[in-house]
Amino acid sequence: MIETSALVKRYGSKSAVDSVDLHVERGSVYGLVGPNGAGKTTVLALLAGLRRPTSGSIRISADPQQVAVLADTPRFDPWLTGREAVALAQHLVTGSDDHVDTMLDEAGLSDAADRSVGGYSRGMLQRLGVACTMVASPSVLLLDEPASALDPQGRRDVLDLVSRMRGAATVVFSSHILSDVQEVCDTVGILDHGRLVFQGALDQLLAGSGVPQYLIRLRGPVEPAIRALRPHEWVLDVEQTGPATLTVTVSSFAEAETALVGALAAADARVVSFGPGDITLERAFLEVTRTHAEAGRPAIAPDPENSEMP
């Protein structure tokens, strides 16, 4: 398990990480997402012990040597072979190099294992970095953009490797490629300007905790319902997204829960189905960071038990 409490990292007057309370369950795959400069790499460096926090605390339930880190652009001495790099990575931690060939094979580097790393492409270096990170079977993996430089097949392989670690290791996976995070992570933390603006289960975020939207399917004409909903203050937007479908963006679930059904009834709308918007992580992420920026509010790290859900 990984936990941080009020974690702060300042450079001069600038806060790179501001009061971050991270909670990563043992054996989970945690996606740390955020725009460039949000503080993802700094958080990972703090967790890895490569930087010291200005204040706050970090608790990792693992021996420091069992914490493996993958930099966003892995680099190695160019005169080493791929096999030697992976062997060094394992030997430094376990004192043996018995998993090297297996790991090279899993990373798709068997054919290039005896070539100098200096001749590797960026994608191959990334695969090599992943192999070096996983070869010693760490119990905590901190991966900084592990698939960012890879082609589609390479990305697929790395995501599969990360997925396979679920349960065997605790993985914190930073990425700006939200589809990757959506695919492999079960928990998500959204960082924005150094603050954790959302933390919780991926399902919870996608279900609408970050983007208060409802998907409403009607029987009959939808225009009367649109006209009836728009004047309400708590309705931010109403969009016809299908022949008989409306997507209603609301200012808060609390208001919508008490008033939306009534408003539809008042408009004589014939409701076939009604539920939270089916959204992608990308949309949820944009909504959460937009809301956070507009409100200028402090970090939200909702308790999964008590977070606002439709």
């Binding site: 040597q65 930099a71 680099r75 001495d77 060094l88 990575a89």
Partner: protein, 252 residues
């Protein structure tokens, strides 16, 4: 694959050993030759010695080793600083620093092999160069004092180890290989300036490189450089500790 083997491979595959050995052996062979044939070399180069009335003293064995030391300890030290910086500035590429730092329990595990292998390569190169200079001096000029050469070579080796650890300390506090090289050379250049005051200079590490030439004539007591050697060994130990502590505190 260990960190010791990593350093050995760095030395062999990057051909750094060729640069080190080449410099010391080249000057080892050139030094006694130029000491013995200096007059002829100047004449061959076009100098009319009769007109200016210049007179060259007859070369003695200490001159052969003196020429070696003066060349090898200048160019050789610059090469040594560059090679040591390449090995010891392991954080200059942060991603490589991350790879190593997150896999060891102490920064000393990274530092020790790098310092020891670099020192060993440097000392072996210097000793082979010294052996070449000794042999050629003996053939061309005459036999230098054997004890003086041996003890002088030990003093020279101590100085070279000091240089490596000094580079390590500078590397732990600077961001790149280039800045490590420049700052280390600056320190090594300033030290002899401080040593102009003889009472101070005879205790400084930069006093040691001259020992080989000085002791080769057999007239100087072997213990004349002992004080500087002790100070240098102590400074080497302190600098290693400084390097380890600064590197431990360093953030990537």
């Amino acid at each position: 694959m260990t960190l010791w083997r990593l350093e050995w491979l760095r030395l062999v595959r990057t051909k750094r050993w060729v640069a080190l050995l080449g410099v010391y052996v080249f000057f080892g062979l050139l030094g006694p030759f130029t000491a013995r044939y200096l007059e002829q070399i100047v004449s061959f180069a076009g100098g009319d010695l009769d007109d200016v009335g210049a007179e060259f003293p007859v070369a003695v064995p200490a001159d052969g080793l003196g020429q070696y030391v003066s060349n090898a300890m200048q160019v050789g030290t610059v090469v040594a600083v560059v090679i040591a910086a390449g090995a010891l500035a392991f954080d200059s590429v942060p991603e490589m620093g991350v790879f190593l730092r997150t896999r060891v329990t102490s920064i000393r595990a990274i530092l020790v092999p790098r310092v020891v292998v670099t020192c060993a390569a440097l000392v072996v190169s210097f000793l082979i160069g010294t052996a070449a200079a000794w042999y050629e001096t003996w053939v061309l000029i005459g036999a230098p004092d054997a004890a003086g050469v041996l003890v002088g070579a030990v003093y020279g080796s101590i100085f070279l180890c000091f240089v490596v650890v000094l580079v390590g300390a500078v590397a732990s506090a600077t961001p790149s290989v280039l800045s490590t090289v420049l700052l280390s050379l600056l320190v090594l250049l300033v030290m002899p300036l401080v040593g102009i005051v003889d009472a101070i200079g005879r205790w400084l590490p930069t006093h040691l490189p001259g020992a080989l030439a000085d002791l080769a004539d057999g007239g100087t007591p072997l213990t004349d450089y002992l004080g500087a050697a002790i100070v240098t060994l102590a400074a080497t130990g302190v600098l290693f500790e400084v390097a380890a502590r600064i590197a431990t505190k360093r953030e990537l």
